[in-house]
């Protein structure tokens, strides 16, 4: 025993050294990636300090005047910003709910199709809008909802409307239009993961249920839904943080002067006041607040999922 003991650590040290030498290529590559990551992802986090300063380009982060929570106080006493938080959260939640529900619904309906070719065709078509840019999509949405557009034409022809509505001059239509745009663009794409989950459910469960006389709806309710549960929860946790990110491009591209009170989101605010008016500190403060809310939501939902014994992210 006493003879063997000293040799064990020596051997271990030797293998570690040999291992380091053997892995030298990997270590060098890893080091390069760490340098890259620090510069492009971690360094901007240091920029958060700007939120507590009156940042000037000349002074930089280390030479600008410290002002404490001035910009945060300014933001939360500003009626515009409070309304912007409301817009961001409202559209974020509406979009998340609408796109999740439609994706799950679409995945379930598609999984019930037995014809392979039909299924493939519908699926291929459903992915298409995901690949279009928001520029193109909002341009199409603009055309579709214009007074001469297809939506008004359809509604008038179906006698739901007597005269066309100017959708983009009334604030109450904006949030639904944003939700519809998101649903149109992403339903097929978001359904990919739900479809994969449904496919992975053990077919013998359905067979057993059929033997017991379960109908289609009962099978969906008692087998498909429970099977999807953990995927839904994981994706909700992953996406809940985005509720406060949800929407920069759509709102920026679809909004107009008449709709400002409902269309502006935090990112648009940052772009307008932070970048446009060069008030970097104010813009950063708004951005820091956004990240704070998004992190809180992720941890909160992860915590709830843990408590209810569900699948969780970390």
């Amino acid at each position: 025993m006493s003879l063997m003991n000293p040799s064990a650590p020596a051997l271990k040290e030797k293998t570690t050294k040999a291992e380091i030498k053997r892995q030298s290529v990997l270590l060098i590559i890893a080091a390069l990636y760490v340098v890259y990551g620090i510069i492009f992802y971690y360094l901007p986090l240091v920029g958060w300090l700007m939120a507590f300063q009156t940042y000037t380009l000349k002074g930089g982060i280390f030479g600008s005047e410290w002002v404490g929570l001035k910009w945060f106080k300014f933001l939360f006493t500003d009626d515009t910003f409070v309304r912007i938080i409301r817009n961001t959260l409202a559209m974020g939640v509406i979009n998340l709910v609408a796109t999740t529900v439609t994706a799950i619904g679409f995945a379930i309906l598609l999984s019930e199709v037995k014809n392979i070719w039909g299924k493939k065709l519908v699926q291929t078509i459903s992915y298409l809008p995901h690949f279009l840019s928001w520029i193109v999509v909002t341009s199409i949405v603009h055309e579709a909802f214009s007074t001469e557009g297809m939506i008004n034409e359809l509604l008038v022809n179906l006698h739901i409307l007597k005269t066309p509505i100017s959708f983009f001059s009334h604030t109450q239509y904006f949030w639904p239009i944003v939700a519809i745009s998101n649903v149109w663009k992403e339903t097929g794409w978001n359904a990919i993961i739900y479809l994969a989950t449904i496919t992975s459910i053990d077919p013998s469960l359905y067979e057993a249920a059929a033997m017991d006389g379960a109908g289609r709806w009962q099978k969906i309710k008692h087998i498909t839904f429970p099977g999807l549960r953990s995927t839904i929860i994981i994706l909700l946790i992953m996406n809940i943080g985005n509720v406060i990110n949800a929407g920069f491009e759509v709102q920026y591209l679809l909004g107009n002067g008449l709709l400002q009170s409902v269309s502006q989101t935090i990112d648009i605010y940052v772009l307008k006041y932070g970048v446009g008016k060069m008030n970097y500190s104010l813009g950063t403060a708004a951005g820091v607040f956004k990240t704070f809310v998004s992190m809180t939501l992720i941890f909160l939902f992860n915590f709830i999922a843990k408590k209810t014994g569900d699948e969780r992210l970390f």
Partner: protein, 303 residues
Amino acid sequence: MNGKNEKKKSMMSGWDWAFVICNTTFLVLFCVVTLYPILNTLAVSFNDGLDAVKGGIHLIPRKFSLRAYDAVIHKQGLQQGAIVTVARTVIGTLLALVANALLAFVVSRRRFLFRSSLSFFWVVTMYASGGMIPGLILMKNLHLTNTFLVYIIPGLVSAFNVLVLRTYMESLPDSYEESAQLDGAGYMRIFVSIISPLCKPVYATVALFVAVGHWNSWFDAMLYNRNRTELTTLQYELQKYLNSVMQTQGNTSSSGKTSSSSQVTPVTVRAAASIVTMLPIIMLYPFLQRYFVTGLTIGGVKE
């Protein structure tokens, strides 16, 4: 007892039929709703400009004309934007693929000493980001603003893509690597000539994700390079054009006034420009479908 069962069965098949009919109708409607706006844009783009302003075009052009495409192709900004966009898509996708794959290779080596800490270092970047303004200031300090490189370098490594690639590489059997090592191959050899050929499907997935991102991007052109018109992108030019059309439509009642002499109107040019920018992707994605579906499923479910 027996009769009851039979009755139940036949009733169910009746419901089944109703379900199949409803479901098929619904899915057909879904496809119509998805395709109609795109086909309508296509029809408008091939229509005569002044005629299109009247509206009422559905799936077939009423008065056929190629003028709108002629106008789009000869638009100075769009031409330049197309060149820059093609360049950034090709260069950016190739470099990003190599960068993401190499990192995924390193973090998927089971014996790598800093495997979990390096993974954690990158997963953090998915959730904590500095935001728009710290990013802008960083690009300014690195002298990347007003350069082509700002399109390529900052987005080179993305943690999500690395995760997708890593998951796939981890699913490959260890024996390949081990036998290569016995033959004296180093890690770079293993990466280039053993792992990479096996990763073609997942490489295709990530390449598609990155390429679509490059092709459709406009915000970086606006934020970092708005002062250098020669570095504009296709989508940013489209955005500027659409914006200017909206402005003029708001200010003057007739949208056809700008170029009535040339029989081209914003309505048709907008449609033609949209079609031109979406065409390459529409032609490409159906062939890569198999790849991105598996890629997304692997990455998503695991993550």
